[in-house]
Amino acid sequence: MSTLPLDLQVLNAIAALFLLLAFAMLSQRRVVTLVKLLAMQAALLCAATLLLAWRTGETHLYLSALLTLLLKVLFLPWLLNRLIRRLGVYWDSEPLLQISGTMLVGLLIVIFSFGLAQPIVALASTATRSGIAIAIAVVLLSFLTMITRRKAMSQVVGFLSMENGLFFGAMSATYGMPMIVELGVALDVLVAMLVLGVFFFQIREQFDSLDLHHLESLREDQ
């Protein structure tokens, strides 16, 4: 039976919801819902950071939570929704594997990450160390999301989810990254989004669709 203090239990619950959202993203086909799930994931991240800030009293975590809120919960989803409206990509086409097959592979990945993280969890010193396993699982699941999608927009969402997972892992393992690193990562993500947005328009102009298998025609023998 659980004997942890209440805030750690809440953190565990947030971690579990985080994992659930990653799974939900794996099975979603509507791109708009994917962006909503991404926003929810970032909101959970923000809540976890706030809770951790309250527990440990480190001020840079408050700043980090604010940054997450502004950037990942408000700005990026707004940007993505704008792109979706302008490009008109609301649905993803048939994914690579069947949904049930993808979920099964996802489950195996979760087992693998949990098993992988067990020795790390035994060594770490923070109170939220079991979140490391969840973070690794979310990163790998987002990778899987990126692999099994055909439309470019869904792959970008997968990439951003991977970044969320990394952030969660850093938070669980070492109570957050140094501010410089965080600001740098945030800036990188922003720039990547802007560049990708430009790319989407170029791809659509060239192939008249954002389906990435058209890119396969860019080969040597053509």
Partner: protein, 317 residues
């Protein structure tokens, strides 16, 4: 075991037997209200059962004795299941004879006999219903077993009343694994009890039926027993869900006295009212799935249950 515990056991079974059609009537009322219709009286299921019991039974010419005895077997197993599921108190002597895995086995027995009876008359719809019911069953049963497994790991027991007892009397703790398994259990409940989005209990279109198709050949008292069994099954499932996820309020082993029982009965009624309303909302909010989407829904439930198991081993172990 004292006389009081035996009394509680018998009372629980009687309450389940008598209140099950009331529960079904309440859900029908909520659905009607949500769909902007005039709600039927809450006593309609009782009137239906009485009406059916006094009619003359018509059996198909070539129905075997299996067809005739199946309603009684299904009804009997459902009463037994009601004796194992803790609704008012958690001190049930009969649960020593049959734990949660035996409960799943009991539900499987009922399902198998219903399917066999449906295949007995040899009509197209009966066999169709039997096939679909077994398909829903073989995916829902493992999910239910994993849900019980997770609850057993948390409370170190496989007897359902003991699980409820330990979850109720321990200090409050957030269990994410139970949250996952609660969603999985809700999906299993919808599938096994032939509610939307898996099966419309009020449909008349035979090609879309799962549960009703198996009852097409029954009439009079056999049909009354089958309908009562279905209501009892839903009642049992609701009580299982409440025992696993919302166990507070039942008369636990620490206080198996009459006053605790007096408190437990209104709490049970309240829980049933709320869960009936939630069920009606869930039914109204979701459209009916195509039959071949149902395995995907149940596979999601199964995966959620397994995920709950893994989360329990990681975060709470």
């Amino acid at each position: 075991m004292s006389g009081l515990t035996w009394l509680i056991q018998v009372i629980e079974v009687l309450v389940a037997l008598l209140a099950a059609p009331l529960f079904a009537g309440w859900i029908a009322q909520c659905r009607a209200v949500l769909q902007n219709r005039t709600p039927p009286s809450i006593w309609v299921p009782y009137r239906n059962i009485r009406k059916l019991l006094i009619k003359e039974a018509v059996l198909a010419e070539h129905a075997s004795p299996l067809f005739r005895i199946a309603p009684y077997i299904v009804f009997g197993t459902m009463i037994c299941a009601a004796a194992i599921v803790p609704s008012m108190g958690t001190n049930l002597p009969f649960s020593n004879a049959a734990d949660a895995i035996a409960l799943v086995g009991l539900l499987a027995t009922a399902r198998v006999f219903m399917a066999l009876a449906a295949m007995d008359v040899g009509t197209a719809f009966g066999t169709l219903g039997a096939r679909r019911e077994m398909m829903v069953g073989f995916l829902a049963e493992p999910a239910l077993l994993i849900v019980i497994f997770v609850a057993s790991l948390i409370s170190q027991s496989t007897a359902l009343p003991t699980i409820a007892d330990r979850l109720a009397t321990e200090s409050f703790a957030l269990y994410p694994s139970l949250a996952f398994t609660a969603v999985a259990f809700a999906l299993v409940l919808l599938a096994e009890n032939a509610r939307l989005p898996v099966d419309n209990p009020a449909t008349h279109l035979e090609l879309t039926m799962i549960h009703e198709a198996m009852l097409l050949e029954y009439s009079a008292r056999h049909l009354a027993l089958m309908e009562w069994s279905a209501a009892l099954k839903l009642f049992n499932y609701a009580c299982i869900g409440m025992a696993l996820f919302v166990p507070w309020g039942a008369a636990t082993t620490e206080m198996p006295t009459a006053p605790a029982l007096m408190v437990a009965i209104p709490i049970l009624a309240l829980k049933l009212l709320v869960s009936g309303a939630v069920l009606a909302v869930a039914e109204t909010a979701f459209a009916k799935l195509r039959v071949f989407r149902v395995p995907e829904l149940l596979a999601t439930a199964f995966l959620l249950a397994v995920l709950g198991l893994l989360v329990h081993l990681l975060l709470e172990g």
